[in-house]
Subunit: 315 residues, 2 copies
């Protein structure tokens, strides 16, 4: 049997979808942060380098959080300078002013803060109320913008929360507005525990649009915990979203929220987008090879369906 | 941490979707047919019984194919009578008149034939051309309809074929029309190797509608080989499809087509449909418990994301 399916899906565009999507690759940060194994700095650097070689243009590199909380990324100061020659955007997570100082000292031009739509997760993850966390971010965002640094605002638990259950749309809209009012350039709407379904996605995006938030400022960040991530992505694309977060090989999850395994795999996303005729600039074969390489370092197979299908055939 | 996410997704309907979907459960036939292990008849009977207890109303039970080709289902004559008290539809696959004779002798009221949209797969799977296979099905369908037996026509390789690559839409429409002209009551459009993306689904369904095929006669049968099954299902629902095939726990695949692993898991489908406020009548907790039970018999975990998420929490 020859295997044309080894290559790529047939591009058949669907009406009302964007022509291009920017993938915000989170594997090196959100992914590795949530792997049990701590990956050597040289492997991380090679990972980001290989990701950049696939055509990805936005690769979140690391986090300037206190090493006590995320020991997996304690090498941010060592790693980040090794990536300075790469012709891609390399956002970094900064939890507070101390993190911002560290990132700016290394020349970071894109940073991200990490907020919660729910009080329970704000308390669990940041040990603050939602409003206290926004107050903590205020000087971070203000100083970053003062240096013309691009700021992304992550918002977790936008659809469901393990303590609170369903999250009311107006509550999410309020925190989104607050983050934008602080000066965030873009938001990433997170389904941290992966419970969302497409109607919820449409409802939230519609409410945000009605609240005056331009869809161009919105990205989506879905987890595949219940297998819903790509269907939710399709719903978001149908609302005009053009920024989608995903993790090469489906690396990572969230250790602070039980069962929040399974970032959407970039390969599964690229398969769908390419099939829809939506340009991402990503070379799927190179990306699969990169995830297979990283899976060997982590000592476990990638959970990405596309990586498994294509790498089984190659082996 | 308490776990409201253990329960069910929040129902948030989306515009333009059907109010009800009928799930055509294929785990006991398409699933077990493609598992390496041959499952004892008593376990199969208990599996179907448990599936019926979840609220599923259409449960494909077995196949009256020659045991040489599908030894896993060689016990059809033993199994089928054990299910006769179940208050659900129990379609069976019949490859030819001999299979139909066996099914009718046991009182089957719903049968299915298995056609291919491509010459290559017709040759590989049926050792016939497409037209020769249609000629083989003609007396099967005619005789079944003469006894007022409901006939489903499976059509495989509707979107891509491992030998031929992309499958032209008019070619699929032609075989669909031919199956309906033979007298099939409904069709199941199969993405046998899982390569389809939502634009292809919309294009095929649109073409079929334009060719005069009522959408009520169409079901969709997606494989999750590249993780696309639920997104494709969403696209099909948006076109008005109300019959979706899936396999409890994601059992099975297709041994005749390389890399065609991964039927859409019924649990992942139910999560999405329930989240969309679409009635299926299925109790997700019971279904997950059934798949966990069957996974123990097969000695491997279910590939369903939803089964994994919910059973990890329960364990």
């Amino acid at each position: 049997m020859n295997t044309p399916e080894l290559g790529l899906p047939v591009p058949v565009p669907a009406e009302g979808l964007p022509a291009r999507v920017r993938i915000h690759e989170v594997g090196a940060r959100d992914g590795l942060q949530n792997e049990k194994a701590t990956v050597p700095t040289a492997v991380k650097a090679e990972f980001v380098r290989r990701l950049a070689g696939t055509g990805l243009t936005t690769i979140e590199a690391t986090s300037f959080v206190h090493p006590k909380w995320v020991p997996q990324l304690a090498d941010a100061e060592d790693l980040y300078p090794q990536l300075s020659d790469l012709p891609v955007s390399l956002p970094v997570l900064v939890p507070n002013e101390r993190g911002l100082d560290r990132a700016l000292a290394l020349g970071a031009r894109r940073v991200a803060v990490f907020a919660s739509a729910t009080e329970s997760f704000a308390k669990a993850n940041l040990n603050r109320t939602v409003d206290e966390s926004l107050a903590m971010f205020e000087p971070v965002v203000t100083r970053a913008k003062g240096e013309d640094v691009h700021v992304r605002g992550y918002l977790s638990m936008c659809f469901g929360d393990p303590w609170e259950g369903p999250v009311p749309v107006p509550q999410v809209v309020r925190v989104c507005r607050a983050l934008l009012d602080l000066g965030c350039d873009e938001l990433s709407l997170g389904d941290t525990i992966g419970v969302a379904t497409p109607g919820q996605v449409t409802a939230l995006l519609t409410a945000l649009t009605e609240a005056g938030v331009p869809v161009s400022a919105l990205g989506v960040h879905f987890h595949d915990t219940y297998g819903q991530a790509l269907a939710n992505t399709l719903a978001a694309l149908q609302q005009g979203v053009t920024t989608v977060d995903s993790s090469a090989g489906g690396l990572g999850g969230c250790p602070f929220a039980k069962s929040a395994t399974g970032n959407l795999a970039t390969e599964d996303l690229v398969w769908m987008l390419r099939g829809l005729g939506i340009d991402t600039g990503v070379d799927l074969g190179r990306l699969v090879a990169t995830s297979v390489w990283m899976a060997a370092h982590l000592g476990r197979p990638s959970p990405s369906r596309t990586v498994r299908a294509l790498s089984h055939q190659e082996s």
